[in-house]
């Protein structure tokens, strides 16, 4: 361990040891005896408005927590502003949250561009930019940006796992890739290429991209099929994943297919695409799919369903964004619990960076959250799974 980190851990250990003796309350703006103010920006309008449900379910979850007494007796107040997926509006809304509403920290601001726009500001102001809702790999950089932390597994990590599986099981494959032409798609593709290493250019025979505004991706699928590839990496968001799976099958192409994690929902993607057309698909997962009957009797899933019914009835069970938001909210609750009465921004970051073996109820068994002063990637583990026509069936070990 380097000197810096050993000092940090020593300091941390000392702080932990001293904590019980430190019954004194410490507050930064946004925290008080009765309340913790949490800021957030979400695309409730505009092209990415489908993700607005994440903000809504998190608000519902905090409502439930408040009804159960809050955290250490304090109510959670979520101030969630619409930024329309436009970075200038994110900047404005974030400045308002920090300077006018004086929130303690920013929780799950959504979008790569949005978070890129505010990162320097948040770090300069020393306000936590916590559990950003994007999988871009740039968020796990505590050395340069100690106030910014991601949450979900990085897209590049996912890409590397597919690459490894290809190298192990299909070393002579011809690989075709369909990717969404934005930060998400490009980042996953980069992970895939990095994972394939020197063989990337020889293995990948064709790449095709699409925009979220495209009405159809048939043309792209046809081009990919035409390349003669026998492995297809499907880096898409739910709507386009369904279109792609269906077209691939209908066009008579039967490649080995990897599907991106965000689109694994049986209810939202595989059913519209056609269950029989989706058989054999592989993906990685870290959360449970609420529409997979495998979890029918799972107590955590039952709790989730009850929660939806009571606190978020307009939420769609098949939408994996809801499982995502629910789990992120639970992670935050854990962090705040660990803060105790020391509600300074610095302590919030510190506790966020000391989550050990946190097994969330809706995370797949064996996949835990772990963070440390050097490790700003809470979720790193992923499980490969294959669709058998009815369920997602795990295979192989959990990959870190």
């Amino acid at each position: 361990m380097r000197l810096g980190t050993s000092f940090a851990s020593l300091a941390f250990a000392a702080a932990l040891a001293a904590a019980p003796a430190f019954a004194q309350k410490k507050y930064d703006p946004g925290a008080s005896d009765t309340e913790i103010k949490i800021g957030q920006t979400m695309p409730y309008s505009g092209p990415a408005s489908a993700y607005g449900t994440i903000g809504r379910i998190e608000a519902a979850y905090f409502k439930m927590v408040n009804e159960q007494g809050g955290i250490n007796g304090r109510k959670l107040t979520l101030i969630s502003l619409d930024d329309g997926y436009s970075p200038p509006r994110t900047v404005e809304a974030t400045r308002r949250l920090v300077e006018q509403d004086e929130v303690l920290f920013d929780f799950q601001p959504l979008g790569t561009a949005a978070n890129a726009a505010i990162r320097k500001y948040m770090n300069a102001k020393k306000v936590p930019q916590l559990f950003v809702a994007t999988g871009a790999t740039m968020w796990g950089d505590p050395k340069h940006y100690p106030w910014t932390m991601g949450w979900q597994p990085a897209y590049q990590t996912e890409g590397k796992i597919y690459a490894k599986d290809i190298l192990t099981n299909h070393p002579n494959a011809k690989v075709a890739v369909l990717y969404q032409n934005d930060d998400y798609g490009k980042d996953l593709l980069k992970g895939l290429k990095d994972g394939l290493g020197a063989k990337a250019s020889s293995l990948i025979v064709k790449e095709a991209s699409y925009e979220v505004t495209d009405p159809s991706i048939d043309s792209q699928i046809l081009s990919l099929k035409d390349s003669g590839a026998d492995v297809f990496v499907n880096i898409t968001t739910p709507k386009f994943a369904a279109l792609a799976i269906r077209k691939v099958y209908d066009s008579g192409w039967r490649p080995t297919q990897y599907l991106a994690n965000v689109s694994l929902s049986i209810g939202a993607v595989l059913t519209p695409a056609g269950l029989e057309k989706s058989a054999g698909l592989m993906t990685v997962a870290y959360l449970k799919d609420a529409t997979d009957t495998e979890w029918e009797n799972d107590p955590a899933m039952n709790d989730y369903r009850a929660f939806l019914k009571k606190y978020y009835p307009e939420g769609n069970l098949a939408d994996s964004s809801n499982v995502y938001g629910y789990s992120a909210a639970q992670t935050l609750v854990q962090v705040l619990k660990q803060c105790g009465d020391n509600l300074t921004r610095e302590n919030v970051m510190k506790q966020a960076a000391s989550l050990k073996h946190l097994q969330l109820p809706l995370a797949r068994p064996g996949i835990e959250i772990n963070t440390g002063p050097d490790d700003f990637f809470p979720f790193e583990a992923l499980q490969l799974q294959r669709f058998d026509g009815k369920h997602w069936v795990a295979f192989g070990k959990v990959i870190e």
Binding site: S216, S219, D226, A242
Partner: protein, 290 residues
């Protein structure tokens, strides 16, 4: 060759989508000489109404017909209530109102139905015709519906007195009034028909692209390109334009410039047509007398 054929047919399928919305644009233009920016959102909203009806248990074709009727009525209502007061005003006011409508419809749809993507039922069988894998039965069915609407629209304008009256009202309102044509109601009728056509376009498109409030935002620009290319006052031209744009976009994307500049292709088509031959390939050139 196999792929070329597949790309071509897939382009026809997408083109059918553009063509159907372009028909609605042509209808509005025939009736009011205006470019309706809100057409896509109107179609989307009608499709949501259809979805609600189907969800309530009404069988597909019943819901289809009912949606057409509702959309027709709403179109007339929009023209009479919202547009009538500013009919004589400057063009900019109309453009702004269309934009306002666009924005309102999009928001309200998202508010009522949320932004989750939903599948929409198709009345056509899911197995491809003749077992080939180039084009699905739904795509073929949608093209057939588009062509049927095209024929109906053409027949309406060419062979019925009402269609003639509508064209007269748009071309020369003063003279039309002198002959006894109720110009205001002709415009309203045009709007009603256009909204109904848009509804049918939406219901044909939704099974392909899935139903969500932003469904038409990707299609609208291509539909405009199609309508302009074919001639914005010519229904045949609009449909031809739709297929042409669909195929062009696919072939260019697959063989020449890659998939990342498709919207730019639409932009170039629009500008090129407007600059070089504003009346489009099949439209009539309007000569203004000074």
């Amino acid at each position: 060759m196999d792929t070329f054929l597949a790309q071509f047919l897939s382009g026809l399928a997408t083109g059918g989508v553009y063509a159907s919305l372009a028909l609605a644009l042509v209808m509005i233009h025939q009736a009011t000489r205006l470019v309706n920016f809100a057409q896509g959102e109107l179609a989307m909203f009608s499709t949501y109404i259809a979805w609600s009806l189907v969800n309530a248990g009404i069988p597909y074709w019943g819901a289809f017909a009912l949606t057409l009727a509702i959309s027709f009525a709403c179109g007339i209502a929009i023209e009479r209530v919202i547009l009538r007061p500013v009919e004589r005003g400057p063009v900019l006011s109309m453009v702004v109102i269309f934009i306002g409508l666009l924005v309102i419809l999009n928001s309200v749809a998202g508010w009522i139905y949320s932004y989750t993507v939903r599948p929409f039922p198709s009345p056509f069988p899911s197995e491809p015709l003749f077992g080939q894998h180039y084009i699905s039965s739904h795509d073929l069915g949608a093209i057939a519906v588009t062509l049927a609407v095209l024929v109906l629209v053409y027949a309406f304008f060419r062979f019925t007195p009402l269609g003639l009256a509508m064209r007269a009202a748009a071309q020369n309102p003063e003279s039309a009034r002198l002959v006894g044509i109720r110009v205001g109601w002709m415009r309203a009728l045009g709007w009603g028909l256009a909204t109904a056509i848009g509804a049918s376009a939406g219901m044909m498109v939704a099974p392909i692209v899935f139903l969500d409030p932003n469904m038409m935002s990707g299609v609208l620009l291509y539909a405009f390109a199609a309508a302009l290319l074919g001639g914005i006052d010519n229904p045949f031209g609009a449909v031809f334009g739709g297929f042409f744009v669909g195929v062009l976009e696919n072939l260019l994307g697959a063989y020449l410039i890659g998939q990342e500049l498709k919207l730019t292709v639409a932009l170039v088509v629009i500008i090129a047509v407007l600059v070089v031959k504003p009346s489009g390939l099949f439209g009539r050139t309007l000569v203004r007398r000074v």
